[in-house]
Symmetry: D2
Subunit: 479 residues, 4 copies
């Protein structure tokens, strides 16, 4: 929580990894610019810092930059100071704590007796603090407080002891939580996904390049085609143009994060066989069935509620309209660090369209509510523009418990829904009515088996044992 090493900001600490973007490309030509371009398409998964690590001539070197991919790498690209190697990985970091900090950015690199190793990681290792202490006891020094460094050092150790295949397997049997990883051991690349498959990881091909990435857009943008998802528990070796599954460590219970479908992923992504756009469309449809409202117009909270509002209106044959204009030059609220920014941004970000709102009974649709502060302000804003009634409809269930697997929802007492009835929440945001989608509705919309999803933040029961939290009894890992 409060550990910090080699950090430029002496005041604020770095948290363990959150939801991030992972890319790896193994080709026959220099891959730097392709990785850079892929990272740009995954910018929504992390805006704080980025990095690219490239193998060349026996060594792995990295460039790490602050801020947006485009801006950070600009001077390197302009001056031609980019690595020439043909195998490399990239990472975007999403962080909500503290000042911007390049040190915590991935990829993380170490030099070992086996050569150089590098890792890009998306997810969150729930037992990393214990593992960190154990590795320290074994003489491993740490230079950051990230779970990524712990994972890489654990991998280095078990691989050295047992070889690549068995070593990765041993590490996976020890690591708990969410991890979708691109790993380099010298020039060999590995795609690793935790046995429960919390976070997405997808495999593609473009000419001679084999690509692994968090989402398919990163493959599309470099002209590639998706091959398939990396399976939960699967470890794939990518070397010399060959894709080889080393093994798949099966779990009794898959736990894909439902929030990727609700909010986090790009709508054009197809994750574990399910298109995100289609899930969102179904979320709106099912929300309409469960919680119809009598009103004049359905409007979304842009951009997050748009697809759901559209299908909500379509299902109920209501008018759909874009009643809130979103200022293109204000950043995505959810992803901005710091409370102050989150509050100040709302005012500049959204403005009602008078003709759509004035005198109207409105259904206001959004994808989810975490704290409720933005929703409260939007309701108040719509009223000040003459809205007659406002019926809030949320296309996902109440969030009542923290996420331990990579989404920045950690603090229970920030959740507006915690220990409140729908009516209490409705009163707090100042709406005329308010309804959430049910958990059943969510599962039906995503179109997966309930046992394939992690819905811990909705139920408080988690697919992995978390100290002080309830475990989802169906979900014990078999090994």
């Amino acid at each position: 929580m409060d550990f910090q090493l080699q950090d430029y900001d002496p005041i604020n600490g770095l948290k363990p990894s959150e939801n991030c973007a992972v890319v790896g490309i193994c080709g026959k030509d220099p891959v730097f610019l392709k990785i850079y371009t892929s990272l740009r398409t995954l910018q929504h998964r992390g805006q704080e810092a980025s990095g690219v690590a490239i193998y060349d001539n026996g060594k792995i070197n990295a460039i790490k930059v602050d801020g947006l991919v485009h801006e950070g790498f600009k001077p390197y690209i302009e001056k031609g100071l980019t690595p020439k190697g043909i195998v490399g990985i990239g990472h975007n970091r999403y962080s909500t704590a503290g000042m911007k900090n390049i040190t915590g950015a991935g990829p993380f690199l170490i030099s070992t007796a086996m050569g150089d190793m590098a890792i890009s990681h998306n997810g969150e290792i729930t037992n990393y603090e214990i593992l960190r202490d154990e590795l320290k006891e074994l003489g491993v020094p740490f230079v950051t407080k990230t779970d990524t460094e712990v994972m890489l050092n654990l991998l280095a150790r078990t691989i050295r002891q047992r070889g690549i295949k068995n070593g990765i397997k041993s590490s996976m049997e020890i690591l708990q939580g969410a991890y979708s990883v691109a790993l380099m051991i010298g020039e060999r690349m590995y795609a690793i996904r935790d046995p429960k498959g919390f976070r997405p990881l997808i495999l593609g091909k473009s000419g001679n390049d084999i690509i692994v990435a968090s989402e398919s857009a990163a493959i599309d943008v470099v002209g590639g085609k998706v091959i398939r998802d990396v399976q939960p528990g699967e470890v794939i070796e990518i070397f010399n143009g060959e894709i080889t599954t080393l093994f798949t460590l099966r779990s009794q219970r898959i736990s894909h994060c439902m929030f990727e479908y609700v909010y986090f992923a790009r709508p054009d992504s197809i994750i574990d066989g399910t298109e995100v756009y289609n899930s969102r469309y179904q979320l709106g449809t099912n929300l309409a069935r469960e919680a119809p409202a009598e009103a004049d117009v359905v409007i979304p909270v842009p951009d997050s509620g748009r697809t759901q509002a559209l299908s909500y209106a379509s299902e109920l044959k209501m008018e759909y309209s874009e009643g809130l204009f979103k200022n293109r030059y204000s950043e995505r609220t959810f992803i901005m660090p710091g409370n102050m920014e989150r509050d100040g941004a709302v005012k500049l970000k959204l403005n009602p369209i008078k003709s759509v709102v004035n005198g109207k009974r409105i259904v206001l649709v959004d994808d989810s509510i975490v704290r409720g502060t933005t929703m409260k302000r939007i309701v108040s804003l719509l009223r000040s523009f003459g809205a007659r009634e406002i019926h809030v409809r949320i296309a996902s269930p109440k969030i009542v418990a923290p996420c331990y697997f990579g989404v920045d929802m950690k603090t229970r007492d920030q959740f507006i829904a915690l220990n409140k009835t729908d009516q209490q929440i409705c009163d707090e945001v100042g709406a005329d009515s308010l309804a959430y989608l049910s958990i059943e509705g969510l599962i039906k919309s995503i179109g997966m088996d309930k046992k394939s999803l992690c819905i811990g933040c909705l139920t408080g029961e988690y697919p992995v044992k978390i100290l002080g939290e309830k475990e989802d009894v169906q979900t014990t890992l078999e090994f």
Copy 2:
């Protein structure tokens, strides 16, 4: 064209002012932060540079910054280095030529025998080069090549000779073209709009503050209420809490820029009595009536074609879907300087949603086409994702002639529609069918009299005499 003075970039010149944002606030408390916030809401009207000029204690001082309002002023706000005065003006500069350049940014200031003067200008003075030469002959030195400096020096001269009211009038009788202006003469502020009313200018009030701005969002954001539009040819004095119309210089022919409704302004703005969102909705409706298409789904080019696509689908009772995902972290194509950025950005910016596109007959709706390069790429992108048919529908007429009044469409041979039939354009972008809205449909959608709009870029006939161009015969200025 190629003149340059006091310019940090020695290679590229500055063009005369383009479409920009203007703000002026006159209050009883320090206005800097209010102007800053207003400028942020008008960021879409100019992202190259910004400035704020404040009157304090007998003098006017200015801060000018590069880039986005938010980023440029950050160090000044953080260090508390912001002026304390209660009257001030602000400006966002939109530029398409050359490197970023703070010198050309507004507001422009001069010190004269009458005291300090400052001006924020949106529009384009068509006869500024002649006026500049004439003023030089009269001994006026110039430090930039902008039309704004010419206008301010002309105003300074005529005001000195004839007093404020008659002086402004004299200048307006000489100035040709588009100008919506916030002017400061010491602590007195003036809102000036050219007699044809090309560019918007709106008046509002918030507590003790009187506000003039390019669009109403700038008034909303500081908690104000719109009073009314500044009338074409109207000159308003704002001083000491009083709003006084000095005079209104009438033109035989009003010429509101149709492109503000089609693309440029925010949809929540109400300009000259017409809500932009509503105009865009009507543009889609009338496009549907004029050019229906048999297809499975209507999809917009986001974000510019969304409202029009929605009403197009609604009018024809077709399915509407967001079939193209827009990457939030790539900037608005149209407003980015440089050809390279324009091209490179398309690839990163848009990605199709497979389930919406694959095997479908698609109506693709956008607000307008200038060069056609982006449209060409989108059509090709949709085909590669399995679109069966693509019917392009454009919710405005063909652009065939340059704009001389502030929109960055200067070079005839860049227009895809120049000397081409619809079928030729259709072939060039690779669509199955293609149709534009008619000029009549455009006028009906905006809901104004044809004689109140400037449609020079659609007809090649202009409401002001332009050397080498045809004049719209109905539009001779009476004075």
Copy 3:
């Protein structure tokens, strides 16, 4: 005093020009890099901002940068964004007021009916405020509050009325104070020096290049040879490889600034026939004769007192030693803006050499004292390192009055010597004895006629009429 226009810093104003560096080169190949290099050698004359203006293809363009020449122009040179013209001028700005500010930096450019004009100016126009008001009355707008802009506009006006030669002459008859100028009227360059010759200006040649500069080092560094000083009142046209004296406006009384010899200029410069190093050597010699001290060692305040201390010791056959180490990485005290920096810097800047100081009777020699704060701290520092006696010797007379001609000594009550006896000053700095060189000693050391020097800051009598100050009766200007 407190006027400010077009200024990035809204809090602090810009003062009129102070002692600055001027360079002009007229050649047959691109001159930008030569001007840049010359400016680097004159960095001691101004570190706040720099600029280069180049004539090319009918126009004059400028690049202006903040801070040191080397750092400011670096990105332009690296990216190859430097002008290609073969005639140009440069300027380093020295400023002591406010934050760094690029707008006040020279060269100043205007576009007029005669074409583009640019000026680099070193000195200070004493009647610029009146002239500025008069020009304003004549309709000339001002965009800065500098005397440089006043001078250029006056020149533009009189040249237009009377042609170049008579126009410059007319302006010079009106302008009062100090000015050494490089002027460009289109591609023609003019070197102008005020009739009293306050500030240096020197002419040189290097291959095809004709060079005018504040000091000869700027000529040496580009491989050139000095031709001669520009004479007081002389106006030289440099065009097409020809050097032509247009006229020389003679004054009854020359007034070379004595402080150039004492402190400001580089020791390797030869100004008006007198080598600065030699003058400084003589200042020490004469100081020794006037104010010998019985002591063990003579030590200089580095770097400013070194030459004088050396000749002082040599004259008295005393031991000379470098008893104070100067940290190379702390900047020159006198030239740093802000009181805080001046104070904090002393501590980091100097440290005594124990073996030289401990138990010794020391003669401490410096070139001059303005405020005395640094001297006070040095005396205290030496005592803390065991100095037995400290005899302060200053190789110039007491400064008791402001400079109005370009040296940053404006505020009487900051002068330690004002209304104090030598003993009082000695007590204040904490020395055992203290002596200044006499005015006669100064004049003898520089080796010029008393009537050829401005010693206004030593006597309070000035060679130009200054409101509220005594005039040196011998010095009325004849025209």
Copy 4:
């Protein structure tokens, strides 16, 4: 040589540590600003990057910055983002290879089973590559390629196995080469100097603060008093206001670097009982005795040859004069990275004083010659200013072999003196005569026993076994 990890610059590698600055302060109040100020006085020992690590509340955090101490830390100090702890260490990095790089900057931090550890190191571990490989074999991962990381990990390992005292001792028995270190283990600080005492390390006190630093100026500047040098091989614990010598690991042979006295250290420093200024004075005196020259004037190469030239002149009763003016705004040649900078800087840096040089027979004194390029240019410059004869005198012996202990003289074939006679060198630099001080003269000047100095770069025989080099037989380490 060419290994690189976690490095922002993908093209150039980082070399092992070179001569650097080390500071550590243990007090009762926050120490950050004191460490910062101390580092400023030691800026001459490293200008590439700096860092400060502070213990606070169970953890050690660091701030690392690029470039000069003053500039790098400015934003942190301005925003108040500085650590509050009362124990901390600082480091300035001197580097000659590649682009600026913050990652290689000290202090280096790790988190271990014993808590956080941090190290600041000056020197060069000659066997670090072997140790790095051995530690890798033991499972220690490396994130940089510096010798500092190797040293810290070795210390962490041996301390964990044997306790602090014996652990440090064990590490010192393994480490070869030069190291003057400030080490933190949690809140305990240790000053460690290698048994041969290559690099300086000095202990002081200021009120409650105990200070360890590379040179005494760092103690003086915070108002402290020197206690004594840390002895070769001594390990001192500084904790809770107590200074305790844990042990002293004696070597048969002390090896203080002679180059600290000749060039590197500040003249005001007293290192191992010998004042640097006094050594330099003696170097000049002995040079005069060994190699007198018949000439008119002795001039130094400023600033490095000044003291030696002064005593040379004094010894021979010759005239001493500052015949070369050094531009204050060009950086120290020796310490600037890159060949280009080194060459370009000479031209801008030095200019002769005509009256001192013209027609004169000159003795030109410098402290040392490494490559000879600068000397060559100075001789040529002096001739072009009319010098009649130039007699080069170097106040140290010929450098003929690389330094392996922290001075950036690595490449034999860059040394001008390699395999050349004095006459050949004289011819190459273009002088009339040239002489070096003898090794005996050097030793006598420094005033130490020959067996107490490392003169490996003068003889090619080193006090530590270096692969491929001769060992100084007198110097075998006893353990």
